[in-house]
Amino acid sequence: MRIDGKGLVDRTKPVRFRFDGKDYAGYKGDTLASALLANDVRLVGRSFKYHRPRGVLTAGSEEPNALVEVVGAQNQTPNVRATVQEVFEGLVTQSQNRLGSLKYDLLAVNDYLSPFLSAGFYYKTFMWPRAFWEGLYEPIIRRAAGLGSLSGKHDEGTYEKAFAFCDVLVIGSGPAGLMAALTAGRAGADVILCEESHALGGRLLSDSQTIGGMAAGDWVAQVVAELQALPNVRIMARTTVTGAYDNGTYGALERVGLHKPARPNLPRECFWRIVAKHAVLASGALERPVAFENNDRPGIMMASGVRTYLNRYGVVPGKRVTLFANTDQARGVARELMAAGVTVAAIIDPRPDASAVEDCPVHVGAEVVGSRGRLGLSGIQVRKGSEVIEIETDCLAMSGGWNPTIHLTCHMNGRPRWDEELAAFVPMEGAVPGLVAVGAANGSMSTHGALATGHAAAVKAVEALGRKVSVPVPEAEDAPYRLKALWSVEGKGRAWLDFANDVTTKDVKLAAQEGYRSVEHMKRYTTQGMAPDQGKNSNVSALAVLADATGRGIAETGVTTFRPPYTPVSIAALGAGGRAEGFAPQRFLTSDQASRDRHAPMIEAGLWYRPSYFPKPGEATWREACDREVDMVRQAVGVADVSTLGKIDIQGKDAGRFLDFVYTNTFSTLPVGRVRYGLMLREDGLVLDDGTSARLGENHYLMTTTTAAAGLVMRHLDFVQQAFCADWQVRFISVTESWAQFAVAGPKARALVNSFLEEPVELPFMGVAPVRIGGVDGRLFRISFSGEEGYELAVPTRYGEALFRDLLARAETMGGGPYGMEALNVLRIEKGFITHAEIHGRVTAYDIGMEKMVSAKKDCIGKAAATRPGMWGPEREQLVGLKAQAPISAGAHLFMPGAEVHRETDQGYVTSVCWSPTLGAFLGLGFLKDGRARMGEKIRLVDHLRGLDVICEVMNPVFHDPEGEKLRA
């Protein structure tokens, strides 16, 4: 019901929205919860386990009951707090976690079965027969559990992430936060003020008091106006600081577009990483419920919630309101309701010494012991001494006192301190370096306390920044906070602690009875605190009940750990930018467009895209194209872009010495103008990478790495140089991106290459020379990864596309053309060249038959560790070639022909395979126990997954031209 003359919603701007198929009207500034309450909708959800009818409990993000689905055009958003979601024109929402309608939820039967569904019941049953767990019980449990639903469709929303930096981060804009922001802002510090709600002011918007002689709302407006005018203050509304991380880093979620209809490019949410030199936590406090029998009916609400709906939204959730509270502060709710013309049927105050003087009946020393009303509250039972009276009411405002909102102070493992007087946990000072809790978050419950501590923390922060400031603290109420702790009311029935997960005092007591006495055991056994509200409404009360049940004090019982996020954060916001190709950068070759023009399917190679093959008309499969390309290279000439290989330019007098140290073999003796294959080990003796390095000048080398290991090798070289030889005359830098490099291979390679050169060069095998191509300085290498006479032609990247297109055009006139990754792979397997399929991190130089490349004359990285006894010898699997007449597969395992096939008879495995058009056979590379001693043997290849069982011949892995005559031609 809406009350005239109350609230901050804009009554000139009505808004239509929908809930469970029915249209309602609210106003701009309403939350879904306030608008539903204004429309007298009390039943908004069903509880998690028992499917009990539930209504709005709070007016904040801690809401455990009023969770709904927001339905969008493409996606729906589950578990949205109706108390946070602002209404807008066209908002469509629906209730969740029900089977049937919200009113007639078939799963409400669980409520009648509750005696059998007590804490941990599932650990004790559903065990027999075994197959029934997965087949029957578990699917039923899974369907009944859960809350809202995802649509199952890709989230098409827009999300954003951002960084921000400031001197002082103020978290919360109640009296303490505003005062802190104002103080720091006036001092000239860079301030970020985050407020979870859409409006600044915190609880000053929810109650009626005066600050500095003016109405609190006016004071808020004045301060906000000043802050907005300060260029050094950034106000972030609708922004929840969700986590405190190391070294002054905070995570924060800004709800950018959730209060508006979707718009192109408008982020729904933005996840901020805020780095702050100082932080002031002014997050206030959360009111806690009291556990009494059936305290979960729609219409039973937190007193602070009732107060917020009245003052901020102009809504009363009932016609006959009752108040059950154990503090003087909560009385204000009743007074404000009465002042607004609402009937307050009774105040029930458990404190025997509390005042009985109000303009309504007051029962002191009394407790609410029960309630009635199936889908909404209709009455309560109140016990006063031995007498139980019935009071008609449709809204009970309850308050068991306040818990300071200390969560962020615990995110770095800080343990809070129990304050007996407040009957609450307060932050341990310094628990998060640089963060100071103020106001109610630190147990200063009065408005004056909030203003004073907010001011003091800001003064301290700005002084640490070397600034000075003088801001008077305005006068405000400073009433003492006086309560008698009341966690639960004695009674027989179920009294809820954790509304969201349906955990009652009985469950907590049962946990204690069964030995789950540690607070962590209790939490895990009962699931208390694990629901969407993260125990905000129940943690302290539950552990108080546990403390009582185990005969310990609350301080001794301790709390469970608060972990980030403070309120749940969508995966999409935290993962903004990751959608589709955004997950990792895309790297494109200069030949990319030319390859696509020829319809080459492009495949991911690390971050790069490389052509798989170049189909010709009439070729139906990749194999046809691949076979043709292999043949083309072997018979004529092929061109491939190999620019993705890592290239590192190494200079200095000690460059050769440095290469000797990082490679197993020697490079200092390499003549200028020559190239050598190098093998690089990790310090643990296993192969890191391989590649060729060229000596371009006396003190100048060019190292090549594999595509996959380019970054790894650079990091490795940096480490070796900086850690072990920082004083050597050597410097290096990546030139991978500086050069476009093309392999030209085949019997006609020389002719093709020479047709490009201003002056033809005669290069020996493994030679390198500077060349000029069409007026451009380039480099020519005579190296081969195919076994044919091969060259690599390098030009500055800007000329890459032109050179590639020209190379192809001329190659085609010679019966040649481009070849892709598939053919490249076949060519190198035929030649027994290894890639990271073979050097997969578990192989030694010995395993690949290169132990002789480990120079005995010098130390090198990995040399010593490779001598460990387990790193060599016949027990190890060694690189072999495999040849078969039937298809074989990489990933297959090897066995002795005729032997049984199981782990213990396993002899090795296959790493690479191909059909070799050159040899007319299926070829493989693999690792076989003591393989080098077994050339010529037959071996059985078994691939269960692909259904292959083939006898292969074990061979030297260099199948094609084993003497290398073609290379040197």
Binding site: F165, D190, N265, P267, P585, Q586, R587, R731, E737, W739
Partner: protein, 181 residues
């Protein structure tokens, strides 16, 4: 003989979104100058011919169209000028390895705040600052060339991704514009 046509990474592309302008910038030659141990004096002498010196960390300097940018320990990129002979340094041509993106406009700093984990407040990052960092998952060098202007050096092969991500950030910012508290 072939006629090799040069192509920059983004072929000189430019774009405006809201108040932000993004364009590929041609900076001419880029040369890495890495001091060898004991080489500082000789390099200083060589750079003097351009009126430049090895820059302090996190800074760049310009003289008569030439620019020298700090890029690491005892390392700098000389841009927009041919590199003189420098004894005492490893000198490596980097002209083709990078693409330079110019980003300017009142909201340029807000665009970068979406992508770069750096404190770019003017007081902390004044004009003349050069920072090696990341733009999302890409390594970059970021130069503050004006109160509202930046230049971003990104690996050439990733230029398209960088472009796309900056553009997307700018569009989201533009969509926010006009939304008040």
């Amino acid at each position: 003989m072939p006629e090799l046509i040069a192509k920059s990474a983004l072929e000189g592309r430019s774009l405006s979104v809201g108040t932000v302008r993004l364009a590929e910038v041609d900076v001419g030659p880029i040369t890495s100058v890495a001091l060898l141990p004991g080489g500082a004096k000789a390099v200083a002498k060589g750079l003097k011919s351009l009126g430049l010196a090895m820059p302090e960390p996190n800074s760049f300097a310009e003289k008569k169209g030439a620019r020298i940018v700090w890029t690491g320990r005892e390392q700098a990129f000389l841009m927009s000028a041919d590199c003189p002979v420098l004894e005492g340094a490893a000198v490596t041509d980097q002209s083709d390895g990078w693409a330079m993106l110019g980003l300017s406009g009142a909201a340029a700093v807000d665009v970068l705040a979406r992508l770069v984990p750096l404190d770019l407040r003017l007081a902390v990052c004044p004009v003349g600052t050069a920072l090696r960092s990341q733009l999302n998952h890409m390594n970059v060098v970021i130069l503050r060339t004006g109160d509202h202007a930046f230049e971003i050096l990104v690996f050439r092969s990733m230029a398209q991704t960088a472009w796309h991500e900056i553009e997307a950030a700018a569009q989201m910012l533009a969509a926010r514009a006009g939304m008040k508290l």
